[in-house]
C-alpha cells in the first residue's frame, strides 16, 4: 500500500514544478507523518505496558528476587530448575489440560446448539439471543463470586432449593469433592461464556448464503446432511476462532478457581496460573513466579502457532 500512496504523491509533486521554497512539505511526507502520529500512542503503550514488563519478567526469571526484599542479582538457571521441585507442578499441568479439554468441548457444543436455536429471525429469537448473551456481560470475578455464594453450603440457596424440590435428600456439597468442584466450575464457565461464543458462531452462521441451503434442499439433502456438509464446513473460520479463544482462555484459567476453590479441595483444582500466583504471593518469590510465567508464555506461543498452522492447512485443503 505505501508504494501506491508514494506513487500518487510523486505524481502530484511532478504536476506542481513551480512550488516555491517555504511552502508546506509534499503531501506524501505529511501523510506519513500523520500515520506515524496515529501509530505512536499505541507503540508507546505497547512498549511501556507490554515489551518493558516482558523484559522485566525475563530478567526476574533469571534472578534471585524475593517479593519483599527486591532484586538480589542473577542466579540463573536456578529458578527454572526449581520449578519441577514443587509437588504441585505436574498435577497442575495435568489438571489445566483436563479442564481445558472439558470446557472447550462442552462450551463449544452448547454454543453451537444455542446459535442454531436462535439463528433464524422468528418472533422471540431476539429475546433469547439477549438472554443467552447476558451472563457474558458480567465480569468473571463477579460471576465467580456470585456462584460461590450460590454454591456455599452455609449461606447459599442452591442446595436448599434442590432439597426443597425433592431432587436431593442431603445438602449438596458443590465444591466439597475434587469431581464436584471441577464440574461446578465448568458449569459456571459454560453459563458465563456460552452466550459469547454463541454470538461469534451466530455471525458465522448468518454469513452462509441462503442459496446454498436452498440448492441443497432442492437436491433432497436431509437436515443432518445439510448440517454436516454445509453448515459445519462453512462455519469453520468461526469455529476456529472460538476454539483458539477457548483453549487459550482455559489454559490461563485463574479467577474462577481462585475464588471458588482456591485450588482445593486437597489441591485437586490447582491450575498453572494459580501456581504462578502462589509462588509470587504466598511463597513471596518473584523469581520462580517469573520463570513459570515465561514457561507458560512459551507453551502458549507454541500452541497458538500450531493451532494457526493446523487451521490454515485445513482452510487450504
Amino acid at each position: 500500500m505505501p508504494v501506491k500512496v508514494a506513487d500518487r504523491a510523486t505524481a502530484e509533486h511532478a504536476t506542481q514544478p513551480e512550488r516555491r521554497a517555504g511552502t508546506p512539505p509534499p503531501r506524501w511526507r505529511s501523510r506519513k507523518a500523520k500515520g506515524l502520529a496515529y501509530a505512536a500512542p499505541t507503540a508507546v503503550f505497547v512498549t511501556v505496558f507490554f515489551l518493558l514488563p516482558l523484559l522485566l519478567v525475563g530478567q526476574m526469571s533469571l534472578s534471585d528476587w524475593p517479593l519483599l526484599a527486591g532484586d538480589r542479582g542473577v542466579n540463573a538457571p536456578e529458578n527454572y530448575t526449581d520449578i519441577t521441585d514443587s509437588s504441585l507442578f505436574w498435577p497442575a499441568i495435568r489438571f489445566t489440560l483436563l479442564y481445558t479439554v472439558i470446557v472447550t468441548v462442552v462450551l463449544l457444543a452448547l454454543a453451537l446448539l444455542l446459535a442454531l436455536l436462535v439463528q433464524e429471525s422468528r418472533p422471540g429469537a431476539g429475546f433469547f439471543r439477549t438472554v443467552y448473551f447476558l451472563p457474558g456481560a458480567l465480569g468473571l470475578a463477579s460471576a465467580s463470586l456470585l456462584f460461590w455464594g450460590l454454591y456455599s453450603p452455609t449461606t447459599g440457596p442452591l442446595s436448599r432449593i434442590l432439597e426443597g424440590l425433592g431432587l436431593v435428600d442431603d445438602p449438596v456439597s458443590f465444591l466439597g469433592s475434587p469431581t464436584s468442584a471441577l464440574w461446578s466450575t465448568v458449569f459456571l464457565i459454560v453459563w458465563k461464556f456460552a452466550g459469547f461464543y454463541m454470538l461469534i458462531l451466530l455471525v458465522g452462521l448468518q454469513r452462509i448464503p441462503h442459496e446454498v441451503y436452498e440448492a441443497a434442499r432442492m437436491d433432497g439433502a436431509s437436515r443432518a446432511q445439510i448440517f454436516r456438509s454445509i453448515t459445519l464446513p462453512l462455519l469453520r473460520p468461526s469455529l476456529a476462532l472460538c476454539l483458539l479463544l477457548c483453549v487459550t482462555g482455559s489454559l490461563l484459567a485463574f479467577d474462577q478457581f481462585f475464588i471458588l476453590t482456591k485450588g482445593g479441595p486437597d489441591n485437586s483444582t490447582v491450575t498453572v496460573v494459580q501456581l504462578i500466583y502462589r509462588e509470587a504471593f504466598q511463597r513471596l518469590n518473584l523469581g520462580t513466579a517469573a520463570a513459570l510465567s515465561i514457561l507458560v508464555l512459551a507453551a502458549l506461543l507454541l500452541l497458538n502457532t500450531l493451532q494457526f498452522r493446523g487451521l490454515r492447512r485445513a482452510d487450504e485443503s
Binding site: 511526507r29 507523518a33 502520529a37 505512536a40 526484599a69 456455599s152 456439597s173 482445593g264 479441595p265 513471596l284
Partner: protein, 436 residues
C-alpha cells in the same frame, strides 16, 4: 529512518520529549522514595509524636476492620492529623503488602496479622521504633507476644494494634435445651466432645460444633491452643521445625475426626475456606465452637452466649494470641505524625474508651481489668487469657500454614477428613516448608 529535519524530525522530538518527561517523572518518584526510613527511628521529636494536620495513610485487613475503624475514627475526631484507612480483603492482604513493598508504595502505617510480622521486619518494611516504644511509660505492659513477634535483631518494629484471641463460644440456650449446665463450659477436650454431642442430639437443624476444615489459618488459630494447653509446643523456638505429630496433637485430630465421622459438625466444614467460618455461630444453631474474641462485640444481642478458654485433651487452657500488630513503614515520610497515632492508640483513654468499650481485648496487660470488663465477666475470661496464650513464630509461616495449597492444610485434612494415618509424613512436609 531518514533525515531528522521536517515533520518526521518533529515527531521524533515529540516522542523524545515525552520519553524524557516520563523518565524525569520516574526519577523524581525514585528520589522521593529514596530518602526513606531515616525518619522512622529518630528520637528527636516528642515522645508522643507530632500532631500538625498531616494526612496519613493506613492499611489493615478486613478481619480486624471494626477495631481499626473504631480507633481511626476516634483519633481523627480528636486530632489535627487525619488518617485515611484502607481495608483490604484478608486473603489478599499479604499479596497487597508484597506488591506495594516491591514498588515502594506502602502507606505510612500498616497493620499486619501478627504471624506475618517476622516476614516484614526481616525484609526491612517497617521503621525501627525501639527508642519510641521504650520511651512509653507503659512499655513493659504491652502484649508481650506481639512485641516479641515484632522484634528482629534486638530492634522493635511494631506495637500491638488489635488482639484477637481464640476462645470457645457456647450457646447457653442450646445448652439448657440439651440439659447441660449453661454455667459449666468444657474444661477438657473430652468434656467439649461430650457437650457438643449432647447439643447435636437435639436435632432439628442444630449441630454440635463447627470449624473451618479447608482453612489452614483457622486450624492454626483454633486447634493449636488445645495442644499448648497440654503443655506441648507445635514449633521449635526458631520456627524451623514442626512438632505436629505429638500425642496431644493426635488426640486433637482424633476428636475432630470423630465429629466429622458422626456428623456432629454443621454442614460446610469440609469446604469452609475461612471466609464464612465465623458466620455460623451467630445463627444460634451451633452448640460450642472456637471463635475469635474480636467477634464477641458483633454477636446478636439476643444470643445468650458464654465464653470459655480452649481446653487441652485432659485439661489446661490456652489461646492463640493473634490479631494485628502495627508499624510505620520504612518509606513513610511522616513517621513522627504516624507515631502520634500509635502512641495515642495505646494510652489508657483509647484502650479503655475505644477498645474495651467495643468488647475487645486491650493491648496492655495493666488494663486487663477496667470498667468495661468489670461489667461483662466474659471479657475478664478473655483478657486473663492473654498471659496464658502464645503467638507462634516462624519466618515461613504464611507459606506453610496459611497457603491454601500448603503442607499444613494437607495435614489437617488428611488427619480429620481422612484416616489420620499420614500425620507423621505430613508433619515432615510441614517441617520441610518451614526450613525451606
Amino acid at each position: 529512518m531518514g533525515s531528522t529535519a521536517g515533520p518526521r524530525g518533529h515527531i521524533r522530538r515529540l516522542v523524545a520529549g515525552a520519553i524524557a518527561l516520563l523518565a524525569t517523572a520516574s526519577l523524581v518518584t525514585a528520589c522521593g522514595s529514596d530518602n526513606d526510613g531515616s525518619g522512622g527511628g529518630g528520637g528527636k521529636a516528642a515522645a508522643g509524636g507530632v500532631d500538625d494536620g498531616t494526612k496519613l495513610t493506613m492499611w489493615t485487613r478486613a478481619a480486624t476492620r471494626p477495631q481499626s475503624e473504631a480507633l481511626v475514627e476516634a483519633y481523627n475526631a480528636s486530632h489535627e492529623n487525619k488518617i485515611e484507612l484502607t481495608v483490604v480483603p484478608t486473603d489478599d492482604y499479604q499479596a497487597k503488602i508484597g506488591a506495594a513493598a516491591g514498588s515502594r508504595d506502602l502507606p505510612d502505617l500498616f497493620a499486619s496479622d501478627v504471624v506475618f510480622v517476622p516476614n516484614y521486619t526481616s525484609s526491612g518494611l517497617f521503621a525501627d521504633l525501639t527508642d519510641r516504644v521504650d520511651a512509653l511509660p507503659f512499655a513493659e505492659h504491652l502484649a508481650r507476644s506481639h512485641i516479641k513477634a515484632g522484634t528482629y535483631e534486638d530492634k522493635k518494629y511494631v506495637v500491638p494494634h488489635t488482639l484477637d484471641l481464640s476462645v470457645l463460644f457456647y450457646n447457653k440456650e442450646l445448652y439448657r435445651k440439651a440439659k447441660l449446665d449453661p454455667d459449666k463450659p468444657p474444661t477438657t477436650l473430652r468434656e467439649w466432645d461430650r457437650q457438643a454431642r449432647a447439643v447435636d442430639a437435639l436435632g432439628g437443624g442444630v449441630d454440635g460444633t463447627f470449624f473451618g476444615g479447608n482453612c489452614g489459618g483457622c486450624g492454626v488459630f483454633t486447634w493449636w491452643p488445645s495442644v499448648w494447653a497440654a503443655g506441648e509446643d507445635v514449633l521449635n523456638e526458631e520456627g524451623t521445625a514442626a512438632n505436629l505429630a505429638s500425642s496431644a496433637s493426635k488426640k486433637v485430630y482424633d476428636t475432630y475426626r470423630g465429629w466429622v465421622r458422626d456428623d456432629i459438625v454443621a454442614p460446610g466444614a469440609r469446604e469452609e475456606t475461612g471466609t464464612t467460618w465465623t458466620g455460623i455461630f451467630p445463627k444460634g444453631k451451633v452448640g460450642v465452637m472456637p471463635m475469635p474474641s474480636t467477634t464477641l462485640g458483633l454477636m446478636p444481642k439476643d444470643l445468650d452466649l458464654g465464653v470459655a478458654p480452649i481446653p487441652g485433651p485432659d485439661g489446661g487452657k490456652s489461646t492463640f494470641v493473634g490479631g494485628d500488630a502495627i508499624g510505620i513503614s520504612a518509606t513513610s515520610e511522616s513517621a513522627d505524625q504516624a507515631w502520634n497515632f500509635l502512641a495515642w492508640s495505646l494510652d489508657d483513654k483509647a484502650q479503655v474508651d475505644v477498645v474495651a468499650a467495643h468488647k475487645d481485648v486491650v493491648a496492655r496487660t495493666d488494663l486487663a481489668s477496667n470498667k468495661h470488663s468489670e461489667a461483662d465477666p466474659r471479657l475478664v475470661t478473655i483478657n486473663e487469657l492473654v498471659a496464658e496464650g502464645r503467638t507462634p513464630y516462624a519466618m515461613k509461616f504464611g507459606q506453610t500454614f496459611n497457603d491454601p495449597n500448603g503442607p499444613w492444610l494437607e495435614l489437617m485434612r488428611h488427619a480429620v477428613f481422612g484416616d489420620g494415618k499420614t500425620v507423621e509424613k505430613d508433619n515432615d512436609a510441614v517441617t520441610a516448608s518451614l526450613a525451606d
